[in-house]
């Protein structure tokens, strides 16, 4: 440093002091930053912590004192709420059902939406923007508005078959396929919107280079677009997974068969058969949160890296 820039050498004795001062100043300057972040973290966690603490309390305790009292003495915590959820007949099956319903719905949405988003972002065809906007506009349609017409349609086209893997029915009400398709459709407007935006921001040169390398649209889609879109796709996967996983309404209307019921349905039925014992919900909430949270942590690294770095010269 000093050799390259002789005018600096005079100050070299002071450098360590200045450096230490600078570090200290930076720490002080960053103090409000930490306060802000930690403040928000605490604020956001209070309801969750309240839920967590309540899930370990007796129903009478929940109804008579605030959750913060449980952290004081005497500790009267219980795992009773968790027991009553886990011991419920068919809860394991419901957990499996939730997975069977959620995973294909999530994969399907990403696939169908990505195909459409690719066409919207990188192909030219008449009325492209208009069609895209109409699709996005469908975001505004409330699901409860569509359920009656869809249910009527489903009862007309229900296809029975001895296929235990698909829940005894190929399509229609009380079939896995039926609910996969429905969840996929409801998730599409947002998914197309998000992915089209992301695809549209990828550098054009990459696509053209791949076309010249001999890639077809399918090749570009699977080997360039999808790998590069992992941040957007993993974010979308998390949202769609959560929305389907926590869905009650669609399952309630379209899944009549209790053996196919997901956890949300099972848990709600638990509550009603116990009367208004909402405390089991608190335990159920944590049990059903486990898997989505695991997925969130598994995918988190994808939004943390800037994957496009180095693609094109600055």
């Amino acid at each position: 440093m000093a050799r390259r820039n002789p005018s600096m050498s005079g100050g070299s004795a002071e450098a360590p002091v200045a450096l230490a001062l600078g570090a200290a100043r930076r720490t002080v300057a960053r103090f409000p930053l930490h306060v802000a972040i930690i403040g928000l973290m605490v604020l956001w966690s209070v309801p969750t912590i309240a839920l967590l603490v309540s899930s370990f309390r007796e129903p009478t305790a929940i109804a008579s004192s605030g959750w913060w009292n449980a952290i004081k003495e005497p500790f009267d915590l219980t795992v009773g709420n968790y027991q009553s959820v886990l011991e419920k007949q068919g809860m394991a099956r419901a957990f499996v059902n939730s997975i069977i319903i959620t995973v294909p719905s999530t994969v399907l949405v990403i696939l169908v939406a990505a195909l459409a988003a690719y066409a919207f972002a990188w192909m030219k065809f008449p009325a492209r923007n208009l069609l895209f906007l109409l699709m996005v506009a469908l975001l505004v349609v409330p699901v409860q508005m569509t359920l009656i017409p869809v249910l009527r349609l489903y009862t007309d086209v229900t296809v029975d078959a001895e296929l235990p893997l698909l829940g005894g029915r190929i399509f229609g009400t009380s079939s896995y396929v039926g609910i996969w398709v429905a969840h996929t459709a409801y998730g599409l407007p947002f998914a197309i919107y998000l992915l089209r935006n992301f695809f549209g921001s990828l550098p054009r040169d990459l696509f053209e280079s791949a076309y010249l390398d001999g890639a077809s649209d399918v090749g570009v889609f699977f080997r360039i677009v999808l790998p590069l879109s992992m941040p957007a796709i993993s974010a979308l996967a998390i949202f769609q997974f959560l929305w389907v996983w926590n869905d009650l309404l669609v399952a309630l209307i379209l899944l009549g068969d209790p053996t196919l019921a997901p956890m949300t349905l099972k848990i709600t039925s638990l509550v009603s058969s116990f009367g208004t014992n909402y405390q089991v919900l608190t335990a159920a909430a944590f049990i059903s949160m486990a898997l989505p949270l695991f997925i969130f942590f598994a995918l988190q690294r994808y939004f943390v890296q800037g994957i496009l770095a180095g693609a094109v010269k600055g």
Binding site: I37, A63, A116, V141, M145, N197
Partner: protein, 309 residues
């Protein structure tokens, strides 16, 4: 691209078009048709159902005016707060070592099932300050407890001991309390999408700005925000629409009582409780119309993106 057949794009779009057609477009068309029919969807009644919404003849059963006003409040307040918080957290959390922990804390509410969340928020907003966290916090700071979900007064009347009620109607304490629940649940969404956009900004751009002498504040407003604007628009649009069709939260927390109804809950009440399908359908159509201005804005933006990439 050359050599692409004219029907190739349609092939790529076909699955999406088919699904959307059956599950969303067909119900919308069906609803549109029913909005011109009577409550049993038998006879044509012209614009009667829409007149009902405008005239608000039964304010005690279904207060259409307050529902419309509440919708405005939801889509502005809810969107503004959620987007700003999401952006602030996305930007700030990126600068500390515990980024992952901070983001997880904000994200977790999204993972809690809605039914469970509503249970805990009812306890948070409980009037009895021995049980209700919010009132416990307020009273321990020397304030007065309030019935968060029932109080239809404007916030300043409570803060200033029943001073003049000047804010417009929808800014009610209970509405704000509901919006805060929505914000709590959706900030994680905004944060994640915005973080993804933020990670896409090349560090060279930020370094260039720093070398040019910009401080962090200027970098945020003059570099990060403009580069992020497409992502911000995606998030804001999604949240506006969420705010617009907000149903579950209001339905579970208050059932639309105490003037907290929004258009979606009123639609549900009319269609499935009161049994007037015509008015219900008309309310749903009104909900759909709100999206038009959003579309006009988006159309411009996408043309712009086309030109600049």
């Amino acid at each position: 691209m050359l050599g692409r057949r004219w029907w190739t794009p349609w092939l790529w779009l076909a699955p999406a078009l088919a699904l959307l057609g059956v599950f969303l477009v067909y119900p919308v068309v069906d609803t549109l048709r029913r909005s011109f029919l009577d409550e049993r969807s038998k006879n044509f009644v012209g614009l009667d159902n829409y007149r009902f919404i405008i005239d608000n003849p039964q304010p005690l059963v279904s207060d259409t005016h307050s529902a419309l006003l509440n919708n405005v409040m939801w889509l502005t307040l809810f969107t503004a707060i959620t987007v700003s918080l999401g952006l602030i957290i996305a930007v700030l959390a990126g600068r500390v070592r515990y980024e992952a922990v901070a983001k997880s804390a904000i994200f977790i509410p999204m993972a809690i099932s809605f039914v469970a969340a509503s249970v805990i928020w009812r306890f948070m907003y409980e009037f009895n300050s021995d049980i209700g966290t919010a009132n416990a916090a307020v009273t321990s700071l020397g304030g007065d407890a309030t019935a968060w979900l029932q109080n239809t007064n404007a916030p300043q009347t409570w803060l200033t001991d029943a001073g003049p009620d000047t804010l417009p109607r929808p800014i009610q304490i209970n509405n704000l309390a509901l919006v805060m629940v929505g914000v709590w649940m959706w900030t994680g969404f905004a944060m994640i999408v915005l973080s993804a956009g933020l990670k896409g900004i090349s560090t060279e751009v930020l370094e260039a700005a720093r070398v040019d002498g910009a401080n962090e504040w200027q970098i945020f407003w003059r570099v990060i925000i403009p580069i992020m604007s497409p992502t911000i628009v995606v998030v804001a649009t999604t949240l506006v629409i969420q705010g617009l069709k907000k149903f579950d939260l209001v339905w579970v927390m208050t059932g639309g009582r105490f003037k907290t109804d929004v258009v979606a809950t009123l639609f549900y009440k009319e269609a499935f409780r009161i049994g007037d399908f015509g008015v219900g359908a008309a309310l749903a159509v009104v909900l759909l119309l709100w999206v038009l201005p959003i579309m006009v804005i988006s159309i411009r933006r996408f043309q712009f993106q086309e030109e600049t990439r």
